[in-house]
Symmetry: C2
Subunit: 409 residues, 2 copies
């Protein structure tokens, strides 16, 4: 038997033992959707999560949603009403962000390979470009001049530090992201001299960390770096985007990040900030932390079989919808995401089984030798933490299976 | 500097140093497609590959194409004219196989999680189901009875051996695929007794092996297993699908599998087969080996930047089209696929660079510290071995970038 990750708080069953999502029975949601597999996102959990963040953080700090975590259109519309801005990573995401109702001036666009037509679309819409290189800056200025528009331009800084313990390091050494810190001041001076509407800095040191002290330390370094850069430039950045970093517990032994600790430290950091940042606004940019726990992936058992004394539950889902949960996306050692039998939610496990997907590849495993209550053909399996980097980060066309359904409740 | 894998044979440049694919200049193909990124598949290479296989293998062995490797519709139509059958892994693939012109009786459908509607579609069409469990067999018989149709049913056998050195082990111990060998005879007797049109065995021990001796050894074990099962059942399997196994060299030091050695050994194995297999047909089921080398992924450089003295070429492509090449699909250690600058193909390298995709994640790297000729913004990068498990096996929706174009030339 191998352990699985912790089931996120807030999920309960009804008296039949059926998992409830947003107050609805999981089997009823699957019926309503018409078929499995299905992603369900709980809007009340999204609201609660944003409230938790606001309660923990200093009032002056804005909350941006990094929509790469989950770009499902109804979820975007919902999030647009909860957060202060969206961060997008492509022309496609920009279009979706605008369609959600988010105002263009509250949208920023980062990404190391923006094409001319993507720069054009952002400048035309009035969104902020987080510039990733001097070359991209020149392309943006040239496009804006041709359009006769004053572009809103921020500079993404490649910091000389990274976020300790982060799952994805985005700073510290040679990186394709942003402009090395020592090259930022001349670039910002160039932007200001060219008449661009300079929006400030985007500094993203890493993501998916669970250690509040490490996140707080990185934020202190980030604010200090922004202050040094502002001093050297001799101008106040209108906005300092501090990046993200707050992760969620996926695996056995993981503990939730303590948002209150992050918030207290951030208030302290901001109180001590350089005079050159006195009139700056600050933002955090979060994706996974906001949406991961609010999502559940529902898949139905198609076959139950025994091979060499091991039991397999074969489902109609798999890595084509949940690549990361199968352990095949950016992870070295495969570990089990939190997983449950929906119609026996909270019941004691009685057997050890492997839950596999329907794909004809040994990579397609959602739960490896996990202890579960008895489950049979037709029963529903839940894979948790499906609200971030699930549907949109998986190869939906693989083996001709097609996309999963999605639903916001 | 880190090495990259060997560029497949057959790729040459014109006198300008521009890579030719199917005789056409790569830049002209990108113009014709209208935009990059672009997958180009060379039909002449597909024809040559099938001819190479037929020259190496005994005449009696049929060639099936495992379309999961590349389901691009024009390529399927082309392959339908070259091979003897298609192997499909979902109802979606079955539909595409039928649309390609392949006859239903030459299509077989394997996959551990077939839904009732997929069984129904295959039985209705007259394709062969490779049954993965006794439970699936009962569902298929019941659906066929309801339809009033005699179903074509084969049994997928979970062999007690695996393919040594294979990238994907599909046999040897507890597996979600197929029926354990000792349970096959009663299941086949049940199928025959029920009036089904029993089609034989599907025995797939592993894939992506480069050692001809290991493949030959596995084929000998496979034929011996089929013989023992046929003896015990007391009936001749009409077809024995020997599976695949022949891989392609992706990484530095990899050597192409010697098809002639596999063919000579297979002829010997078949000459010595059990009398119970005397009237059986045999097939090999290949995906990657047939199509991988015929495909090239073309992506254009959007930015060239230096960070902490390292040079990055940022392209408009990435892991959303080439997940496996980024090292994030089923590999533990990231190594470089073969990669080249298209407009300086065959030129000596002059610098060490990292080729990254346009996604805002450190996972998105197509070439890590590779030695290449000088390349600038607007130049085209080629990632080879893009004919298999590229477009359809990558998360095209990730970060809103969308699918790549595809073209058969």
């Amino acid at each position: 038997m191998k352990p699985h990750g912790p089931i996120p708080p807030g999920y309960v069953a009804d008296t039949d033992g059926m998992l409830l999502i947003g107050g609805d029975r999981a089997d009823a949601l699957a019926d309503m959707a018409g078929d499995t597999p299905l992603f369900v996102y709980d809007s009340a959990m999204l609201t609660a999560r944003v409230a938790e963040w606001r309660a923990a953080m200093p009032d002056a700090v804005q909350l941006h949603y990094a929509m790469k975590a989950n770009p499902y259109a109804p979820l975007l519309v919902f999030m647009a009403g909860l957060v202060d801005g969206f961060d997008v990573a492509s022309g496609g995401e920009l279009k979706a962000a605008l369609a959600s109702g988010m105002a263009a001036q509250d949208i920023s666009f980062a990404g190391p390979g923006k094409r001319d037509r993507e720069l054009d679309a952002a400048i035309t819409a009035g969104a902020t470009l987080n510039l990733e290189s001097a070359g991209e800056a020149e392309r943006a200025l040239s496009i804006a001049a041709n359009l006769g528009v004053t572009p809103r331009l921020a500079v993404r800084v490649n910091p000389d530090f990274d976020l300790k313990g982060s799952g994805m390091k985005m700073g510290g050494g040679a990186k394709p992201f942003g402009v090395d810190a020592n090259e930022v001041p001349p670039l910002v001076r160039r932007l200001i001299a060219s008449g661009a509407d300079w929006q400030g800095f985007h500094i993203f040191a890493g993501s998916q960390a669970l250690d509040a002290a490490a996140i707080a330390d990185t934020q202190a370094q980030t604010v200090a770096l922004a202050g040094r850069l502002a001093d050297e430039i001799g101008a106040t950045p209108p906005l300092v985007n501090l990046g993200g970093g707050m992760g969620v517990p996926y695996f056995p032994g993981d503990k939730a990040v303590d948002a209150a600790t992050v918030g207290i430290a951030l208030a302290d950091t901001l109180a001590q900030r350089s005079a050159s940042l006195e009139n700056s606004r600050f933002a955090m940019e979060l994706g996974r932390w906001l949406v991961a726990e609010a999502g559940v992936y529902l898949t139905r058992i198609v076959d139950r079989k025994i091979s060499h004394a091991e039991t397999f539950l074969v489902t109609d889902g798999g890595l084509h919808h949940q690549l990361a949960a199968s352990g095949n996306f950016g992870t070295v050692i495969r570990r089990n995401y939190p997983i449950a039998v929906m119609n026996a939610f909270g019941s004691e496990p009685v057997e050890t089984v492997s839950v596999v997907g329907c794909l004809c590849t040994p990579l397609d495993r959602l739960g490896d030798q996990v202890a579960l209550p008895r489950a049979d053909v037709g029963d529903l399996i839940a894979v948790f933490l499906a609200g971030a980097y699930g549907a949109s980060a998986s190869p939906a066309s693989f083996l001709g299976q097609g996309s999963a359904r999605e639903m916001l409740v």
